[in-house]
Symmetry: C2
Subunit: 404 residues, 2 copies
Amino acid sequence: MISVALLGFGNIGSGTAEVLSENGAQIERYVGCPISIKYILDRRDFPSSPWRDRIVRDFDIILNDPQIKIVAEMLGGLHPAYEFTKAALMAGKHVVTPNKEVVAKFGAELLEIAAEKGVRYLFEGSVGGGIPIIRPLINDLAANGIISVSGILNGTTNYILTRMERDKTSYRDALAEAQALGYAEPNPASDVSGADAARKIVILAALAFGKLVDPDVIHTEGIAGITQDDIRVAAAFGCAIKLVAHTELVNGRVFAMVAPHFVEEGNPLFGVSDVFNGILVEGDLIGRVMFYGPGAGRLPTASAVVADIADIAFNIGAPARKLHWDPAEACDIADFGGCSCRSCFIFADTPGGVDKLEECFGNLGDVVRDNGRMAFVSETLTEKEADARAAACGLPFIKRFRIL
Amino acid sequence: MISVALLGFGNIGSGTAEVLSENGAQIERYVGCPISIKYILDRRDFPSSPWRDRIVRDFDIILNDPQIKIVAEMLGGLHPAYEFTKAALMAGKHVVTPNKEVVAKFGAELLEIAAEKGVRYLFEGSVGGGIPIIRPLINDLAANGIISVSGILNGTTNYILTRMERDKTSYRDALAEAQALGYAEPNPASDVSGADAARKIVILAALAFGKLVDPDVIHTEGIAGITQDDIRVAAAFGCAIKLVAHTELVNGRVFAMVAPHFVEEGNPLFGVSDVFNGILVEGDLIGRVMFYGPGAGRLPTASAVVADIADIAFNIGAPARKLHWDPAEACDIADFGGCSCRSCFIFADTPGGVDKLEECFGNLGDVVRDNGRMAFVSETLTEKEADARAAACGLPFIKRFRIL
C-alpha cells in the first residue's frame, strides 16, 4: 500500500479522492498495490464527507510522516502551495499538482530540488486539464526536436468566443453566461486577460526548449476587446477567432505569447470549440500532432492528478527521471519586435483608404469592407514592421489580428 | 552505451537509423547514454549506405549477441516477424515494433512471453504512426475506465474519401492518385478493405479492455463501394463519410468493427481529413479526448519506434511494466447483431416510397431525395433490427451508413 496526502479538498481535491476510491481497482491493477489517502489538508470541516477523518489542518503532520511518499498539491494559487511543495520535495516526498501558477513561476527551482532529492515533481494536470500532453511531449516525442507549440489553453475564453461566433452573443453576455455555467470564476480576470493561458504556454515552452520564461513577461493580450465586427471579418477570411498561446524558438531564443488569433480553416485548432482545449505540437519528425479534450473540470483534472500519482507509485523503487529547466535569462528570450507572422489589419473605412493601404502595404489581396471598417491580410511581417506600417499609412488603425 | 539491432532496412527501418543518428544528441539527453545501432538485418546490400557495415543476413547473429538488449522489428508482415520477435523475447531482449499485423495477431502471446522474461514489448508505432496514443492510453488515462475508442486509423482511405468529398473525384481516380503519391500500395487491398484499420482497432480494444480479438473475425467493411451519390447524402445530413474503426464494451463483451460512417459535424473526427488520423477516446473521468496527426510515414513512424527504444533504454535496469492481454474467447466478443446505433438508410426512390418507409420506420425526420434515391436517419436500432426493417419494408434497399 502506498499512502498519499492531498493538499486541498476543493473541487479538484475532492474529485481526486473520489477517483482514487471509485476507480481504485483499476488504479491498483496499474500500480500493483493500492493507493490510500492518509491525510487531506484543508482549513474547513467536512462533517458529512466520507473522508472527514482524514482532514488535518497542520501541514507539518504530513511533512513529518515518513509513510507519506506522495503529496498531491491542489491548493491553487502561489502561496502557500509553493512553500508546501518545496518543503515536501526537500523532505524526499514526490509531489504531483495541477497548479499551473506554481509550475509556471517556480517550476525550474522545484524540479531542481526534486532532482537533488531523487524524487519527482509531476504536473500533467497543469496544462489541458486531463488531456495527456505533458507526458506525451516528454516521452512519446522524445526523439523529436520541437519546432513550435500552439494551443487553445483556456476553456472559458474559448467558450465565450464560440458563443460569440455561433450565436452572435455579445462579449458581455457570453461572459455572464460562462459565469452562470460555472466555467468562469466570479472574477474572470486571469482567464479573459490571457494570464491563465500565459502560465500554460510557458510550461509547454519549458518542456519543449528547456528554458522557463516568467509568465508575467511574455506578450499577453486578452479577449475583452473582441466584437461581433471582428468575428465577421474573421469569417469573411475563412477564419475563427481563438485565444491562441504560441511558443517557438526564434534564432535559438524562446518566443512565447498569448493573443487572439485568426485561425484558418485548415488548421486543426480551427474546430476546437466550446470549453475544449487543443494543443498543436510541431516536431521535426512527427510533423504536427494535436491533443484535444476538456481543458478543465473536476474529474478530467483529477484523471491527470491520479495518473501522476499512479506513475510515481508504480516506479517508486526505480531511479527517478530527472527533468531539468533553466530559468530563462533575458538573453534566452526572443525580442518580441523581431518575431514575425501574417496579420489581418483592420482600419476605419475612409474615402480612398484602400488606395492608401496599397501604397503602404503593396498588393492587399482580398479587402473586406464591413460596418465602416476595411480589413486585409498582410504578408509575413515582423511585429515591429507591422506596428510601424499601421502607424505610417496615415489611416485610422483599429486593430490587428495575427493569423495562425 | 546501449546497442540495438534493427530488423529490416526498408522505409521505416532506414528512417529509424536516420533518427537515431541525426537526433542522437537529443535522444542521449533523454536516455542518459548513447544508443548505438550494432546490426541491421536485411537480405539486400546497401553498398552506398553509411550503415552498410552493420548489415547482417543471419538473425542468429543478433539473437546470440548478449550485447543486444533491444531489437526493433520493422520487417512488416507476419512472418518471419513473429518468429523473430518471439525468439528475441525468449532470449531476454526487449522488442519494439510498428508492426500492427504481428501485434494484432500475436500480441497476447508475445506480451505473455515478455512478462515471463522480464522484458518489454512496445508498439507505439503500430497505431496512428507517430501519434502518441498507446502510451497515453496506458499511462495518462490509467485512472479511467475506457468507455469507447473510435478512430480514423487509415490514412490512405481517409485521403481517398477527402478527395472524393472535396473535389468530387471518383473513387477510382482518388485511389489512383493515392497510389501515384505513394500513400497507397500498388496492391491497396488491406487499406481499402478496412483490414488495416481492423488490426489497429483490435490493438486499441485490447489496451482498453484487456482482450485481444482476432482482427479477422470483426465486422469489417471497406470503402470501395462509396460513390458521389453517398457523399451528397452525407453532406445533406451535415456529415462527412469516414472509414471509422470503433470499439466499446457491450454488456461486458468487446465490440469492435470497421465500416464507413457518417460522421456528424460536432464530432471531433469530422475535421480529420487527408492522410491524417484521429483517435477519439472516451473515458469515465476524462470524457472525450482526441489524438490527431500523421498516421503513417517514414519519420513519424520512426519517431514512435525511437520513443519506444528510448523508453526501454532509460528504464533498462528497472522492473518492466507488465502488460497483459487475454486472447478473446468467443464468449468475450459481443454479438454483432445486438449492437446498436443510428443509421442513414438509403433506398431507391419509388412512388409512394416515403409513405411506405414511414409505415415501417415511424417518423423519418428529414428525407433527402437525390438522383433516384431517398435517404433518412433512423433512431438507434440494433444491427439485427436495422437489417430486418430494411428487408421488411418491401422497398429496393441500396445501403446503410452508421452514424458517429
